[in-house]
Amino acid sequence: MPCGLILPIMSDGRGARILPWCLPLLLLALWWGATAFRLTPEWLLPSPAGVARTMFAYVAGNTSVPYGGRFWSDAAASLWRVACGFTLAAVPGLVLGLWSGRSATIARLLSFSINGVKSVPGISWLPLALIWLGVGFMTTVSLIALAGFFPIYFSAAAAAASVPQNLINAGRMLGLSRVKLFAKMILPWSMPQICAGLRVALGMSFAYLVLGELTGVPDGLGALIMDARMNGRVDVLLSGIVLIAVLGGICDGLLVRFLSRLPGVAR
């Protein structure tokens, strides 16, 4: 049956629940096929079952075996770094973004500097961060904060600048003060774009988490991946990648759930 007929059927009812799993299942099937028919050597691409066993041991296994049961401490360390870095990105990103979206003076003041710094790849800051802040927590958090700042800043600025003038006028005629105008009109109006920016920034936080943790920190999922590479354990490396994806997905889901309760998101 052609895709044009299958996709509309899958897009509603029970099909809608199956649809998100189609692509991962296809990749899993290809992976399984490649290992079952020995298209690649085991040391280069372990089987899905082998990776699942390794992952289970890493999450729930005995701590006496290598990597066994280390997941919870690694995940806690990584999530703490993401939380700190993301907060450091979100607070100034939102404040400066909303401000520059509503004030041409602030936008002019910031635009040259922010556009310039934005163009520098995040990885370029790594050597400087290592010299200034050393290996570990501070370097990772600063990289996450730097990466997450820009999508939040630009989405907040664009959203605040897009508030229709008539909406502002309506607020003024209905008797809103400047502070209430911001809280009850500008902020709720900007929420959908701000949410998109925050979600992009959270995704980038996980990407830069791994970059920061590859530099020799003792714990964290990025450290696990680096350690597995040094030991030639592709099964552990793939487990780390899959678990980062799972953690990233869960965090994104929690963020969406939190944001959906704020005024202005549902419309």
Partner: protein, 263 residues
Amino acid sequence: MKEYFCCRGLRKSYGPHTVLPGIDITLGQGSITALIGASGCGKSTFLHVVAGFVPMDAGAMLLEGTPCGEPGPDRVMVFQDDALLPWLNVRENVEFGLKTAGMAPALRQERVRHILMQVGLEPWANALPSELSGGMRQRVALARTLVLRPKLLLLDEPFAALDAITRSRMQRLLADLQIQTGVTVLLVTHDVSEVCLLADTIHLMGTGRGIVDTWTVAAPRPRDPDDPAFSQLKVQIRAKLEALADDGRVSCKKYNQQPIENY
């Protein structure tokens, strides 16, 4: 006519372009006054100055003998694009101004219920604006302003984006609501039929010239849009509009943009 609202020598310029060269206008209590003119002639700018959204360069505005300037719930506007809050439902949108004014919940809920009934939107009280048609959204915008019981209702081409049948229904609704509430209305439009149907006084504006002609319509409302008595008036207004359009004056539209700075 007893002065309820009046402007004296109201001037507004954007750079070298004079949009309002000194407007004098008087509105009687409970009247509907219409401003008609080509796009960019300054009628919307005038309405925005009256609402207090745009500061005037010179002149005076008096409402019930008291000077007015800053925006407030005594002079409220219905915009062409409705300007509803998309994250609030119909009831919350209508209630918004009363809540801001600090009215007691029981009283404001009663007022909201009453006005929603008047505009025929009670069954849609819990609907979001995105779930409504253009005409229904404009009815919400009308309800949001009338619930405040304003002294002056400003209408900035409120029905221009609606289809012919919905526009006709909205015009009848406005006429009915005006009779019920007795609110004083200043209507800006470029629809000749609309002014004949609704207005007691019609002012014609020319680009950069201010008010160039005025007609008074004595017929009581509600009026029949097909009444032959209006035909002569429509012809006169259209002839004047065409004469003004041919005089070659440049529209001031591009100078009317408000900067976003300092909302």
